[in-house]
């Protein structure tokens, strides 16, 4: 395995990575370290995890973080209701007679009552290629959960007090993403390899669009990519990401547009700009200017 082969594998899945990102993925797999990805929304952080999973054939296990997420939702939980029903059923059939409390309790904390959540599933993985654990938008979770992740990500093990320690036979490929709504704690970052995902350059973006929207004309893909590059330079409130470029191209292709023009661009602007203020700003600057910039950018 080498960074180049990683890059080719990802490209085969329709994900065009630059040399830095391919090297980061290579190192994450080679060194067995989690990979922390930061970058603007829509630059393809989540897509990367999907592409890695597809290229290695491992299962993609996704953990979407949110405020208030805790171990019982991310790691494991006991199926309390089933435990209770089991106890009542045992009582009703008389199976409890003559047994010690300890043995009954041991039966209640059996693995069959254990609800495996994303992290435990990624660690307690027995056969097949290593799964890919995607911990998405970790900046949304709170500090306690980050502290818990520290333990999991440094040793790749989970301790369930009633059963014992689950240890990963082969560490999963872990990808963490953050949109930087707040700073993730340094201790967590220290356990990870770090990569800042940039917006792709024009050539790479054209290639991405052509892969993801094959039905669009080459001229159209090129012009849309150039137009988006122009929009990104406009200091918008929410600069469009690659996802928006793909959506825009797909929308125009569906409308049968072969060349970007002012009318079709204005009609489909909603696929690429998600704030009214941004749209107003672009319209006030002139859609014609945008189209002209796109044509000249594509021509170069």
């Amino acid at each position: 395995m080498s960074p180049e082969s990683v890059r080719d594998d990802l490209a085969a899945q329709g994900y065009i990575a630059d040399v830095g990102l391919a090297t980061a993925v290579f190192l994450a797999r080679e060194l067995g370290r989690p990979l922390m990805l930061e970058g603007d929304a829509g630059v393809g952080k989540t897509e990367l995890a999907k592409a890695i999973a597809a290229s290695t054939g491992g299962e993609l296990i996704r953990l979407q973080c949110y405020e208030g997420i805790d171990a019982s939702q991310a790691v494991y939980d006991w199926d309390y209701t089933r435990q209770l029903l089991h106890l009542r059923a045992a009582e009703a059939t008389g199976a409890m007679v003559g047994r010690t409390t300890d043995s009954v309790e041991a039966e209640l904390y059996d693995e069959r009552f254990l609800v495996r959540r994303a992290v435990l599933r990624a660690i307690d993985h027995r056969d097949g290629p290593s799964p890919v654990l995607l911990i998405d938008e970790v900046d949304r979770a709170d500090d306690e959960f980050e502290a818990y992740l520290l333990e999991v990500l440094s040793d790749f093990q989970v301790t369930v007090p009633e059963i014992g320690v689950f240890r990963a036979q082969r560490p999963p490929v872990v990808v963490l993403t953050s949109n930087r709504t707040r700073d993730v704690h340094d201790a967590l970052k220290r356990r990870c390899l770090y990569h800042w995902v940039e917006h792709p350059d024009l050539e790479r973006e054209i290639e991405i669009v052509r892969r993801r929207v094959p039905e669009a004309d080459i001229a159209l893909s090129t012009e849309v990519a150039a137009a988006v590059a122009h929009l990104r330079a406009m200091e918008l409130y929410k600069p469009p990401g690659v996802a928006e470029t793909i959506d825009w191209t797909a929308a125009l292709a569906r409308l049968g547009v072969r060349h970007l023009d002012a009318a079709s661009a204005e009609a489909t602007l909603g696929t690429v700009l998600k704030y009214r203020e941004d749209t107003e700003r672009v319209v006030s600057h002139g859609i014609d200017d945008l189209v002209a910039a796109a044509r000249s950018g594509a021509g170069r």
Partner: protein
């Protein structure tokens, strides 16, 4: 220690001296990454370090500089690092007291530049209050009236219903829910510690040179007092005057008028500067001693920024 290791360690050292915090563990990772990638190409060496030694986007520029200067000392080949400069739109709340005194561990240079981007509000943000026309002042008032000062909350001791990150069993509600399932507690109920806003202490400089700003500041303080709980506002001229009570009136104009009457040294040139404000706030005169500990304090505006 091999030659390659020595060079790598020297590079980490150079990086540290340019202000990037690279702990020992990162240095070890760097060695491993170099081992995996080899030192055959500049790209490999560059990205081995970028991935393992840099953990913040802000450090990338420093890394590039250190990389260039370090490796150019060792070999003459010029290297252009991949360009990293790109403007980012910071989607941040527009509340001026976002910064709670560095409690989040934000560095000063880490703070996102807060800037309103749209419509007339942008003009207002960059203008000095001193040069406002009446129309603009009315617009500013309207905006401030809509402003709600929040700041970062802290965890309170009071328990609220729900399953937070550290839930505690709520026996009373669990038993009540069990009544509907024949006495079996199939559904458990939880409580967890809620959040409450930090105490916010505003110290407003209303002395002579600040006169053009004083009204605007008081409007801002009024928005804070009306918008949330646990706010204390003090006017700071030649003496400290508590204005919280005066500003708790809902009508902004009436509140500002009352505040102006309460502050005796309003708009007079200072003859002496108050030297020790902190002890006054800490005493039992205005609330508990904890004022100093868990509160967000905001002193504004700073004289150096706005002095005429």
């Amino acid at each position: 220690m091999s030659n390659a290791t020595a060079i790598a360690v020297a590079f980490v050292d150079r990086l540290r001296s340019s202000g990037v915090d690279a702990p020992l563990s990162a240095s070890i990772e760097y060695q491993r990454a170099l081992g995996a990638l080899g030192m055959g190409s500049r790209d490999a060496v560059y990205w081995a370090g970028r991935t393992t030694l840099v953990r913040r986007r802000e450090d990338i520029a420093a890394y590039d500089t250190a990389f260039n200067s370090f490796w150019d000392d060792h070999s003459a080949a010029p290297y252009e690092p991949p360009s990293a400069a790109m403007s980012i739109a910071v989607d941040d709340e527009e509340s001026p007291d976002d910064d709670d005194g560095g409690l989040d561990g934000h560095d000063a240079d880490d703070a996102p530049s807060i800037e309103l981007r749209f419509s007339a509000a942008e003009v207002l943000r960059h203008r000095d209050f001193a040069s406002y026309s009446d129309d603009e002042l009315a617009e500013a008032r309207r905006l401030m009236g809509r402003l709600r000062v929040t700041g970062s909350p802290r965890r309170s001791l009071r328990l609220v219903n729900g399953h937070g990150s550290r839930p505690q069993m709520d026996l009373r509600r669990t038993v009540r829910a069990a009544l509907s399932t024949g006495g079996e507690p199939l559904q458990r109920r939880w409580r967890h510690r809620g959040m409450r806003p930090r105490r916010l202490v505003l110290l407003l400089d209303v002395s002579g040179s600040m006169e053009p700003y004083a009204r605007a500041l008081v409007r801002f303080a009024h928005a804070a007092v009306i918008g949330r709980q646990r706010v204390e506002v003090f006017a700071l001229g030649t003496r400290l005057t508590r204005m919280t009570r005066e500003l708790s009136e809902r009508d902004p104009d009436a509140a500002v008028a009352r505040a102006a009457r309460a502050v005796v040294d309003w708009w007079h040139p200072p003859r002496r500067r108050p030297e020790r404000v902190q002890p006054t706030l800490g005493t039992a005169r205005y609330g508990p001693r904890r004022h100093g500990r868990d509160s967000v304090r905001w002193l504004g505006p700073r004289r150096s920024e706005h002095a005429r």
